[in-house]
Amino acid sequence: MSLDRRSFLKLAAGSGLLALSPAAVQAAEALGKGRHKPRVVVIGGGFGGATCSKYLRMWSNNAVEVVMVERQKQFISCPMSNTVLGGSRTMADITHDYDGLVRKWGVNRVEAEVTAIDPAKKTIRTARGELAYDRLVLAPGIDFLYDQVQGTSHELAETKVPHAWKAGKQTALLRSQLEAMPDGGVYVLAIPKAPYRCPPGPYERVCQVAFYLKHHKPKSKIIVLDANPDITSKKGLFMKAWNELYPGMIEYRPNAQVVRVDGATLTAHTDFDAVKADVLNVVPPMRAGKVADLAGVVTADNRWCGVDFLSFESTAQPGIHVIGDAVSSSLPKSGHMANTQAKVAAAAIIELLAGNQPDPDPVLGNTCYSMVSDKEAMHVANVFKYDKEKKQFVAAPGGGVSEKHSETEGSYAKYWAMNIWSDVLK
């Protein structure tokens, strides 16, 4: 087993991009003496990747070396990012650093983009050099299928027609566009066909934009062009929230798939209609983050990654695990799901590295709050258990949604965010 000590140290020396913990220095020294710990490389530092990195360290009592490769400097939370549009939170409120993972848990962080993965040699390559792994975790999140909506592109999304479906620059752009919109303007949201990241997210966004407009630009209007035949999540709850809190402001059009966008005139075209916007927010269809292609783990519809749900090991590439939104399944693509999948994967990887079998009865959980105003929220919650016959996770009985949105749940949503951010990063 070649552990590639030289390239690891070269990487470590590279311009401060690798934050070295004392544990990492120890590990590097141990390599020099011919001893080593198994190394897991985790690609992606979102809800899935960061959680997996922490829990691999915690549950192995630091017996596993973890290198987390993430191109972004900071963690920006998609959950709660819609409240930045509504104005009750700022970008700073949803932005967190990775220091806790490095200092408290001894995760080695590499801030770089992965350019190649060699499953046969068990190496990954970044601009900083090559890294060998014993097992690889991919938490690549999503990328966008711009070619499915004519006229859209990454460049247009970054400048004029944001999707803002990865929290960050585009969240701030969309907020500033709403601030610049005249009272009486039209905000148009285009929702792609399921599956997409965060099923209730688009409808929560409608609430948050409505909350902002109601208080600052009450003559304005919201048009929702939904490619789906109906509201895909918490339908009754969202209809109630829209009618009670924002009466007359929201026009919802089902089966309205946007096929073309004119960025110059901010017009969204469906097969039947052309809708002109003052602020145009087009969320394109999605697929697994493109780093999944480098590993050859995209197996379903050219979009998602098939896994063995006991370990989240790829069905296409042994030794490579895939977690979070990129996984092909009927599970909701949510932050909490990625967080709990990461833990099942971490536990399985620790067992597999030791030559043992993973837990045959893993459990996942999902609690997903939607903020419908600055203070009120509602949720959907489920426990998921592994079904040995179906070989996948199925919802346990008893799960469900809120009775109604409430301020009490708004508080719980706030506590959820505090605690899950801490669970992922601290």
Binding site: V64, H336, K343, A354, N356, V383, G399, S411, Y415
Partner: protein, 107 residues
């Protein structure tokens, strides 16, 4: 549901396995910690809530079981906890109770 947990696992399945010693491996019920893992989103890592929700770390075993059973039956009204409680069997709730009772506060 007890699983045997060797202090140092040395697998031979594919020729390569690593020794992964666990300082407290014998006392840790690894299945219980998988069952408890989803709770962290609201109640913090290992039940150490960082705000708002009850701290479950170090919770009294009998009290924990009673609350979960009352959430399950509806005797204790809740916004969300009944939905989670109903996802676990009585045996699993006891494993969760043991797990949280054994966690240190403030870690």
């Amino acid at each position: 549901m007890k699983r045997s947990l060797p202090r140092i696992a040395l697998g031979v399945a594919f020729g390569i396995a690593f020794a992964i010693p666990g300082a407290h491996a014998q006392e840790v019920n690894k299945h219980a910690r998988i069952l408890a893992a989803p709770c962290a989103a609201c109640h913090g890592t290992n039940g150490n809530s960082v705000g708002g929700t009850p701290v479950l770390a170090g919770a009294d075993r009998a009290h924990f079981i009673l609350q979960m059973k009352e959430f399950k039956s509806g005797a204790r009204p809740a916004t969300v906890m009944h939905q989670h409680a109903r996802g676990y069997s009585d045996e699993e709730i006891e494993m969760l109770a043991d797990f949280f009772a054994a966690q240190k506060r403030g870690q």
